[in-house]
C-alpha cells in the first residue's frame, strides 16, 4: 500500500517556509518533543532490528544454535555458488521486471484515459483502481487462484473453452506467469497513481502546440508526454519492482515449486531450517536488490530527462 512520496511537494510549502519568521529556540524544543516518541519508536523497533538482522548475515551460527563472531562471508558465497539459491534471485528479478514492464505498458493508457475522462469518470476510475488496493493481498491472490485454476472449472479455462479458443485446459497456475499476472494486479495502482500525477502536471498547451505543429496522437505522446512524465514513470517502476520482488503471498499460493521468490526462500530458511544467518543473508540480498533497482531507475530516468 505504498504510495508516491512525492505527493507532498507543493509550491505553497516553499513559499511559506520563506515567509516564516526566525523561530525562538523554545519552538525548536517543542518540535523535537513532538517528534521524540515516533523517532524513538522507529529507532527501537525498525532501525535497530534491521541492523541486527543484517549483522547476522556475516556472523557464525554454532552447533547449539547461538549466533556470534567470528565474522564470515561464507553465507554470501554459499548463496551465490549454489545454483538453487542464485536461481531464486534470478527468478525474482525476472518476475519483478516482467511485472513492472507490463505495468508500464498498461499504466499509460489507463492514466491518459483517466486524465481525459469527465470529473465523474475520473472519480469512478479512481475508486475502481484503489478499491482492490485496500483488499488484502491474500484475498486477491485467492481470486487469481480461482481464475487461473488448471482444471476445466478454472474461470479462464472455462471461458476460453466455451468460446472454442482452446480444446484442453491451459496450465497457468503454479507457473511464473501466474505470479506475474497476480503481482501486476496487486501493484498496478502503484504505477498508475504516480503516472497520473506526473501527466497531470504537464501543461496542456505544450501538447496542443505539438498537435498544432502537425504531430499525431502517437508522436505527441512519444515526443512530449512520455519524456515529461518520466519522473512519474521512475517512481511507478521502482515501486512495482520493489513490491513485487519482496512478495511472499503471491508466489507461495500461485507459484508452486517453479516460481518461488527470495521472500519464500527466507521463510523456508527461518521457519523450516532454522538457519538464521543464511535467512538474514537472503534478506540482505533482497534489500540490496531493491535498493540497487532504486538507484538504477533513478539514474536512468534522470539521465534521460537531462
Amino acid at each position: 500500500m505504498t504510495v508516491s512520496a512525492t505527493a507532498l511537494a507543493s509550491p505553497l510549502t516553499a513559499a511559506r517556509a520563506a515567509l516564516r519568521r526566525p523561530a525562538p529556540s523554545l519552538r525548536d524544543w517543542a518540535g523535537w518533543l513532538l517528534l521524540l516518541p515516533a523517532v524513538a519508536f522507529l529507532l527501537a523497533f525498525f532501525v535497530l532490528p534491521a541492523v541486527t538482522l543484517f549483522a547476522y548475515s556475516i556472523l557464525t551460527q554454532h552447533a547449539d544454535g547461538t549466533v556470534s563472531l567470528p565474522v564470515t562471508f561464507n553465507h554470501f558465497s554459499h548463496f551465490f555458488r549454489e545454483s538453487v539459491y542464485s536461481h531464486v534471485l534470478f527468478d525474482t528479478l525476472k518476475m519483478a521486471l516482467a511485472t513492472a514492464a507490463l505495468a508500464i505498458l498498461l499504466g499509460y493508457p489507463v492514466a491518459l484515459a483517466m486524465l481525459r475522462a469527465s470529473p465523474l469518470g475520473m472519480r469512478l476510475m479512481t475508486i475502481m483502481l484503489i478499491a482492490p488496493l485496500i483488499v488484502s493481498v491474500v484475498v486477491r491472490t485467492y481470486g487469481w487462484q480461482l481464475i487461473l485454476a488448471n482444471s476445466r472449472s478454472g474461470v479462464l479455462n472455462w471461458i476460453l473453452m466455451s468460446l472454442g479458443i482452446i480444446d484442453h485446459p491451459l496450465r497457468i497456475l503454479y507457473t511464473q506467469a501466474a505470479v506475474v499476472i497476480a503481482s501486476l494486479h496487486v501493484f498496478f495502482p502503484m504505477m498508475v497513481l504516480p503516472l497520473v500525477s506526473a501527466l497531470a502536471k504537464i501543461d496542456p498547451d505544450v501538447e496542443n502546440a505539438a498537435r498544432t505543429l502537425g504531430a499525431g496522437a502517437w508522436s505527441t505522446f512519444r515526443r512530449v508526454s512520455l519524456p515529461l512524465s518520466l519522473p512519474g514513470l521512475a517512481v511507478g517502476f521502482t515501486l512495482v519492482f520493489s513490491l513485487t520482488a519482496s512478495s511472499y503471498v503471491t508466489p507461495a499460493i500461485l507459484g508452486g515449486t517453479n516460481a518461488q521468490m527470495l521472500g519464500n526462500l527466507i521463510e523456508q530458511q527461518i521457519t523450516a531450517v532454522y538457519d538464521w544467518p543464511f535467512g538474514a543473508t537472503v534478506a540482505v540480498v533482497l534489500v540490496a536488490t531493491v535498493l540497487a533497482m532504486n538507484f538504477v531507475s533513478g539514474w536512468i530516468f534522470e539521465r534521460r530527462r537531462a
Binding site: 508516491s4 523561530a23 517543542a30 494486479h185
Partner: protein, 266 residues
C-alpha cells in the same frame, strides 16, 4: 478529428476498459463463487445459496480471527495516531533542524520490504525474550501503519490555511486554542482518512503477521491464507467476499470524507 486520432482514442478506450476488467476480475469472481450452491469451488457458479456465509459466520475460528483483527487494527490505528500526528505537526509547523531527513526516516518503513521488517522484529523479540504475542503484533502493526498517518496528516497540514490560525492568534487566542479551534477542524478529514488507511493496512497485513502470529493470535489474513491453500469449498470465497465488502465500505468512506485522489496524493 481525423481517422487516425479516432482510431487512437478508440484503442486507448479499449485498452483501458480491458485493464479495468482485469482489475475487477478476481474480486467479481470471488464474490460470484461465494453464492454458488456447489460443494467445491468451480466456475461457472451454479444455483444460489447464502449457506456459505452462514457456515463462515457460524465458524468460531472465523469469528475469533475477525474479532482479533478488528481489535488489532483499531489498537494499531490508535497507536499510529498517537505517534504520527505529533510527528506530522512537528515536521510541518515547527522548525526542526534536519526535518527533511527526519521525514524520510519516519516514512522509511513504507519503502522497506515489509516481509523483512517482520523478520527483523521476530529476531528482536526472540533475542529480548518477549513472548507476549499480542503485544509483539501490536508493536509491529503500529510500525507499519504510523508512516501512513504521518503522510496523510502532514499533507492536510500543508493544505490547511496558516493565515486563519495566525488571525485567531492576532485576535488573542492562545497557540493551543488556535490550533484546536481553527487548524484541527481543517485537518480533521485528513486525520480520519489517515486513520482509515492505517486501519485497513493493519487489517490486511500478512507479511508482518506471518512471522509473529500463533494459533491463539490469528489475524484474518492468516486465517484466509490457511484456508485458501487447504479448503476447497466456497466458504473461503464467502470469507473473502466479507473482506472485499469491508474494503469497499472504507474506500467509499475515504472518498466521501476527503476524496480518494487527495488521500492517495494525486
Amino acid at each position: 478529428m481525423n481517422g487516425r486520432a479516432v482510431a487512437a482514442s478508440l484503442a486507448l478506450r479499449t485498452v483501458t476498459g480491458l485493464t479495468f476488467l482485469f482489475i475487477a476480475a478476481p474480486l467479481v469472481v470471488t464474490m460470484a463463487l461465494s453464492i454458488s450452491d456447489t460443494r467445491f469451488v468451480a466456475f461457472p457458479p451454479k444455483g444460489f445459496t447464502l449457506s456459505w456465509f452462514g457456515n463462515v459466520v457460524a465458524n468460531p475460528d472465523f469469528r475469533s480471527s475477525l474479532y482479533y483483527s478488528l481489535w488489532l487494527a483499531a489498537s494499531a490505528t490508535a497507536g499510529a495516531l498517537l505517534l504520527g500526528m505529533p510527528a506530522a505537526l512537528a515536521l510541518v509547523r515547527f522548525q526542526v533542524k534536519g526535518s527533511a531527513a527526519l521525514r524520510s526516516l519516519l516514512l522509511s518503513p513504507l519503502v522497506f520490504p515489509v516481509l523483512i521488517t517482520g523478520l527483523a522484529l521476530l529476531q528482536l523479540f526472540s533475542m529480548m525474550g518477549w513472548q507476549v504475542v499480542w503485544r509483539n503484533l501490536l508493536i509491529a502493526h503500529i510500525l507499519v501503519t504510523f508512516p501512513y498517518v504521518v503522510r496523510t496528516v502532514s499533507a492536510s497540514l500543508i493544505l490547511a490555511d496558516v493565515t486563519l490560525e495566525e488571525a485567531a492568534r492576532t485576535l488573542g487566542a492562545s497557540r493551543w486554542r488556535a490550533f484546536v479551534r481553527v487548524t484541527l477542524p481543517q485537518i480533521a478529514p485528513g486525520v480520519v482518512a489517515g486513520a482509515l488507511f492505517a486501519f485497513m493496512v493493519s487489517f490486511d497485513n500478512f507479511p508482518v503477521s506471518m512471522w509473529l502470529a500463533d494459533a491463539a493470535n490469528d489475524p484474518m489474513p492468516m486465517f484466509i491464507y490457511r484456508h485458501a491453500t487447504g479448503v476447497f469449498d466456497p466458504s473461503v470465497a464467502a470469507t473473502s467476499t466479507l473482506m472485499i465488502g469491508l474494503a469497499i465500505v472504507v474506500v467509499l468512506a475515504i472518498e466521501r470524507l476527503v476524496g480518494l485522489k487527495r488521500a492517495m496524493g494525486i
